[in-house]
Symmetry: C2
């Protein structure tokens, strides 16, 4: 009998924010693959593997190292090798899982491997997890979207005109990978002080920080793991009084 390969979502970083379903899948796995990055020679970082240790998972943890590069060719090579390994192990009756932070369907490039396995007739399952923007909203006790509002998730590429359009048309923009568009967002805050800016850094980790103080945010250097949620409070109030 062959077991499906589980693509497990670990949630945003706090071990307690994993679902029971993901936890059970990991507890039953013989081998669990986790993405890692090499920051410096001999310094391997895998936030996923750290989480598995906290959750006391017993299966063998294998890291696959993703090159930090915008060129996808190298990452695709890593993923093809991973696919070949997993194909053989699954055939040999091993229970396999791939564990990723956040949710496996939200900006998770490992989905490439899931698609490859599926195209090759190997059974896969995808388990949902809490995305970072949902964890951020809860940490600040925000009502992220209500009534007729629309949520829009933006991966670090935004213009001032687009923000104007969203904020005047009932959208709540969430900007991920904020470090990629820090100047644009900080300039926008300067020219549009009437909106509410909720900033989050290293959400659900020991270094978690959030603030909605505009003066503070204008000076801050945004690290890689940061995001911003913006509200047009005037439109919110008009809607909720209807």
């Amino acid at each position: 009998m062959s077991h499906p390969i589980y693509f497990v979502s670990l949630g945003p970083g706090d071990a307690e924010l994993i679902t029971l379903k993901s936890l059970h899948a990991l507890q039953q796995a013989d081998i669990i693959y986790c993405p890692s990055t090499v920051r410096e020679p001999d310094k391997i970082l895998s936030r996923a593997a750290t989480l598995l240790h906290k959750l006391d998972i017993k299966g063998d943890i294998h890291l696959f190292s993703l090159p930090m590069s915008k060129d996808r060719t190298k990452a695709i090579k890593v993923y093809r090798q991973l696919f070949e390994k997993m194909r053989l192990e699954q055939k040999a009756g091993k229970r396999l899982a791939v564990a990723v932070e956040g949710d496996a369907g939200i900006y998770a490039s490992v989905h490439y491997v899931l698609d490859l396995l599926e195209e090759n007739g190997i059974p896969v399952e995808q388990l949902p997890g809490i995305p970072s923007f949902i964890a951020a909203e809860a940490a600040a006790k925000l009502h992220l979207i209500s009534q007729k509002e629309r949520l829009v998730i933006i991966p670090g590429n935004i213009t001032s005109d687009e923000l104007d359009m969203y904020l005047s048309h009932h959208h709540v923009p969430v900007i991920m990978k904020l470090s990629q568009c820090a100047d644009i967002v900080q300039d926008y805050m300067e020219s549009h002080p009437q909106y509410s800016y909720h900033y989050f850094e290293n959400i659900s980790t020991a270094e978690e920080y959030h603030s909605s103080h505009q003066a503070e945010l204008k000076r801050r250097v945004f690290p890689y793991f940061s995001l911003m949620i913006i509200f047009n409070e005037q439109i919110r109030k008009d809607n909720s009084s209807k």
Copy 2:
């Protein structure tokens, strides 16, 4: 000592999709409030309470009944009564929780009570949960957003022009409360057969159903708990080959 009041997110419906954090908060609560609706006289429906029973939660479960009406006045009256009750119970040292399906920050009108409590200086905590659109994506093994794509969550109010705009500009639209705009979406499918339409009904329940067959979807009557995810596969392919 007074305990914070927890606003607990139960996730989309499958008991296993609750987080460890939400489960622990519920296990420690003396009283848990759940929203319910009265469908017919003597027929009370609370999907949240049903989930708590499945999870074997021992605290007292109190239902509060929300009128099914677009007029918010009646719901606000219910929420004000709930606020008054919880304020007294919390003062008396009770451990309280409010349990809602999905995520407490995504279209959850009970957030009104959380805001009232906070305005009155009563400590509250909001725990994140899996929203239905994340559970839907995982059930169909979809890569919901990748690379430069933006996700937009729409609560049942959409025009054909807006869909055109989103689908030609790297947005992945997710339409919730699909029954409210069934005609518009079905006409759009008819006139835009080149896009991929992923339809979901009663996600994460025993009645879960999903399909991406356009001929089938054009004839289907969409129930209240349904949603649609639409992809412009051509733009996806162009992006991923870059």
